[in-house]
Amino acid sequence: MIWKSIKVGFHRLGSPPTFYRFCLLLSPWLWAGFAICTIIGLYYAFYVVPPDYQQSDTVRILYIHVPAAWQAMAGYVVMAILAMIALVWRIRTTEIMAMMCAPIGAAFTLICLATGSIWGRPMWGTWWEWDARLTSMLVLLFIYLGIMGLYAAFEDRRKGARVACILVLVGLVNIPIIHFSVEWWTTLHQGKTIRIFGESSMHYSMMPPLIWMTIAVKLMFGAALLDRSRNELLSQDRRKGWVAKKLLGKGVK
């Protein structure tokens, strides 16, 4: 019974007007969640956690660097799943969502690279080195930009989405490379600190802001994705009846 209604719900999200309303209703809640988690996270990051014994206060950069890095990679996985669904089932709302993941993912990759570089200057003694982790993360940024460019290059948006979705799946190979780069090769970048299985090598007193900021950026990714997808859908369907009806009626909010 519950399973059936979930399935029906998903099918309805394939319908543009329903998807449009879904984005409109859900997005403010995600933005609100993002704001709350960020405020709590920043409070912890600046007023509660102690400085690190080696890095002093530069450890506070980690509370945006690491969540952004995780989100840049998790966002890519989400995009790849959507792209796979889009290519197999040809559902247009999924195509749109997959394409709209790219600019947001690129933004998080940029945050990760910039904050990492700023941390690296005083701690490592360099802004940038071509080690496996840093290079593969830079490649991720270029993949995101390539997907955006490819999608924009086509006059026919659906054709553009389909071609770009293939690039999304090709670029997926970079995600395990980023993740395992610090284990497969000697790198300048440190290895994993946070482990889901086993003990993390971070003292528990320094964890709360990391957790709050991680949740915050996940909510932000969702909110920005819904906002962008709604715009893209409206733009694609500008000549369709449901858009005209919305504009003629009480007006689109």
Partner: protein, 161 residues
């Protein structure tokens, strides 16, 4: 699932598999070039020619750091607990540099087997803790490099914050 969709899924699966295989082969072939640094044992064992640019990675050996009081000249041993290589460096060290720290020295081997670095980077060892916890651990005698205790570790921990 309709036959068309099954076919599409299979094509996508094969494509991802193909790309992964090709990438894996390329990465294995390029393994030595992707590595950022080499260890002291490899330098001792391997015949790296004099004057070739190398990145030497390892730990700063306990009690090996000596600074020239009048200049920026600093000498220290980089160890992997089997072999030590002495590094000479004239310049500013990164803030994480201390005994027991992972470092990467960029430079060349000279005729005497000494490493002349023109750049020294510090590695971070992925542990994060507050100063009090680090101090307690240092007092409990938990700090050593390759079995050699770091004599002034408490001092360096305290100097670090």
């Amino acid at each position: 699932m309709t036959p068309t969709r099954k076919k599409r899924l299979a094509v996508i699966g094969l494509m991802v598999l193909g790309v992964s295989t090709a990438t894996a082969i390329a990465l294995v072939a390029l393994n030595d070039n992707i590595r950022f640094s080499i260890g002291p044992s490899e330098i001792v064992a391997g015949d790296f020619p004099e004057g070739r640019q190398l990145r030497l990675g390892g730990l700063v050996a306990a009690g090996s750091v000596s600074r020239d009081p009048t200049s920026l000249l600093v000498t220290f041993d980089v160890t992997d607990c089997i072999h030590d290589i002495t590094v000479n460096f004239n310049g500013i060290l990164p803030d994480l540099f201390r005994e027991g720290q992972g470092v990467i020295a960029h430079g060349t081997l000279d005729a005497n087997g000494m490493f002349q670095a023109h750049e020294v980077l510090a590695r971070h060892d992925e542990t994060y803790m507050p100063p009090e916890v680090a101090r307690a651990m240092a007092l409990a005698g938990g700090n050593e490099v390759c079995g050699e205790p770091i004599e002034d570790h408490i001092a360096s921990v305290e100097a670090g914050y």
